[in-house]
Amino acid sequence: MSEHPYRRLSPLTPVARSGILIVAVLAATWRDLLRGDLGPFGWLLLGLLIVGGIYGGTSWLRTKYWIESDELRVDTGVINRQSRRIRIDRLQGVDIVQPFVARLFGLAELRMDVAGGSAREGSLAFLTLNDARELKDLLLARRDAVRAGSSSPPSALGTSAPGPDGAGADSGDAAPGLVPAAPSPEPDRLLARVDLQLLLLSTLLTPEAISLGVVAVFFGVLPLFVDDAGGVSVALPVLGGLALVVIRKFAAGYGFTVAQTAAGLQVRRGLFELSSQTIALSRLQGVVVSEPLLWRKLGWARLDVAIAGYAASSDDNGGPSASTVLPVGARTVVKRLAHHMLNASPDSEHREVDLDQTALTPPPPRARWVSPVGRRFMAAGTSEALVVSREGWFNRRTHIVPHARVQSLRVTQGPVQRLLGLADVHVDSPPGPVKVRARDRLAGEARAMLEREIMVSRQARAPRTAEPLIRSPAGP
């Protein structure tokens, strides 16, 4: 392999990776260290630390990354050498994440979402924050250039021009491997921000925070009436767990900002762990507006989106997941943001998407025999560009999908529904939070809705040309 102008990760990487370990070792042995007399345990730990340090250093030396013919290539490995190639045109998104320890050193991890790849595959840890930002901009600019089919990437890239099929590889001359892309032509525009007061109040009004309060009060009051206070020790893990969930929710929503940049919608958030993710609006599949019961009176809502290839990023930290675009906001802000996102996706070139235009109708009264409580909160409808459904009393969710993004359609009918002449209509979307479904409609209406949606979604997607991404692997 010819020499390429490669780059290395930040030299602080080994320190940041083992930061907590170092602290632990020092904490366990500092007294012995001061005495100048290490016990056998101390020596063992010190030995481990040195071996780890050597390993980390070698790993750092061996890890190189560079861009070559539309691929990001990463060589790693101390014992087993690995060479990864990440196709830039397959990148779904590039996120910058700063775990707490890395943040102390000013480092950041670059996470690349590759269609069908695991998270571990598309990660570079750690870079300095500036390098991470530069590389991210560069990758996104390069991806857009490749996708646009232009054989020459933006001139600011500084590398020689490789063809889309990799014909003209880098000649490896004086051209620097990575030069930041030209500053984006349009300035970043702030769309929404979650201020501290709102975040705090809304976090306190979640079921988790309220049950935390109830449990705490209950067990705080209990010892006053019962002599045996053994129950308190049982409560502690429960309290701890709940508190952790609440704190994580708060931390993940801290400093939440949403901005429109040249590369897409940029979402930044985090208290301990900073993350910045860019959502390509061209891959937007739909949005969900959630209005939990406790927030509804106050006029607050939350906005989640479904992005193709982002998979169903689950809410594993108890905080906003990768699909959350606004953890809490006034309904008008949420609506405006949803509006902005839906209008920015390419299907809406011709028509202006208007959320309020969509008239939602409830299911017929006889639906109460199947969904006695839920019926009153169900509604569904379509507008020129959107198909919308709403359901839920405790957490009211409004699911919105553009006609052009409908994957497949289904009508289902259970035995009880058949007796009543009712049926559900489902709109299938890629994995994600968005699920439009019109439940318990009259059978005739359901079939009519299905047929109409088939026609409308066909027309909505007709003018679009196929992306090569989808077309190239043509069935087995």
Binding site: R283, Q285, A308, G309, R405, Q407, S408, L409, R410, V411, T412, Q413, G414, P415, R418, A423, H426, D428, S429, P430, P431, K435, A443, G444, A446, R447, L450, I454, S457, R458, R461, A462, R464, T465, A466, E467, L469, I470, R471, P473, A474, G475, P476
Partner: protein, 163 residues
């Protein structure tokens, strides 16, 4: 009466009657094994005879019910190829009608296990980007399955739409 699941065009294409036959044979086999197992257990542990009769009766009743259900559900399967989408309906108790636009197809699978092969049938499974799309047609004659797959693949390519 059932407009909801009316065919989109002329008529639903049914699946092969071999599907029904295969499922019933599988049912008979498992029922037989179950009956023998019940008898053996009762003889080994020397349990009262009336209880054995009751258990055998329950197994048999269940088998008769399943026999009827298999007939209904096999007849309920149907599909129709339109110009731009594939319609599939199935289910006797819980009914479902699925419409998949060819342009949304990601890939098509054919599956045929050893028992299915013995009956000369296969199932075709359409995948879109959505996991909710449960577009599966079981019990197609093998050559019809291959024809359908080829047709779906070519139509899918011709009408492919971006995500």
């Amino acid at each position: 009466m059932n407009d909801l699941f009316a065919p989109p065009g002329d008529d639903w294409r049914p699946v092969s009657p071999q599907l029904c036959k295969m499922r019933r044979v599988v049912l008979l086999t498992t029922t037989g094994i179950l009956l023998i197992a019940v008898i053996v257990i009762f003889l080994v542990f020397d349990l009262p005879g009336w209880l054995m009769g009751l258990s055998l009766g329950a197994v048999l009743a269940f088998a008769v019910l399943a026999w009827a259900m298999i007939g209904r559900s096999s007849r309920a399967w149907g599909y129709a190829e339109r110009d731009e989408d594939l319609y599939i309906k199935h289910g006797a108790m819980f009914r479902e009608l699925i419409v998949v636009p060819y342009g949304r197809m990601q890939f098509v699978d054919i599956n045929s296990g050893p028992i299915e092969r013995a009956y000369g049938i296969a199932s075709v499974h359409l995948h879109t980007a959505s996991p909710g799309t449960s577009a599966r047609i079981p019990g197609l004659p093998a050559d019809e399955a291959a024809r359908l797959r080829d047709r779906l693949t070519s139509l899918g390519e011709a009408q492919a739409a971006g995500l």
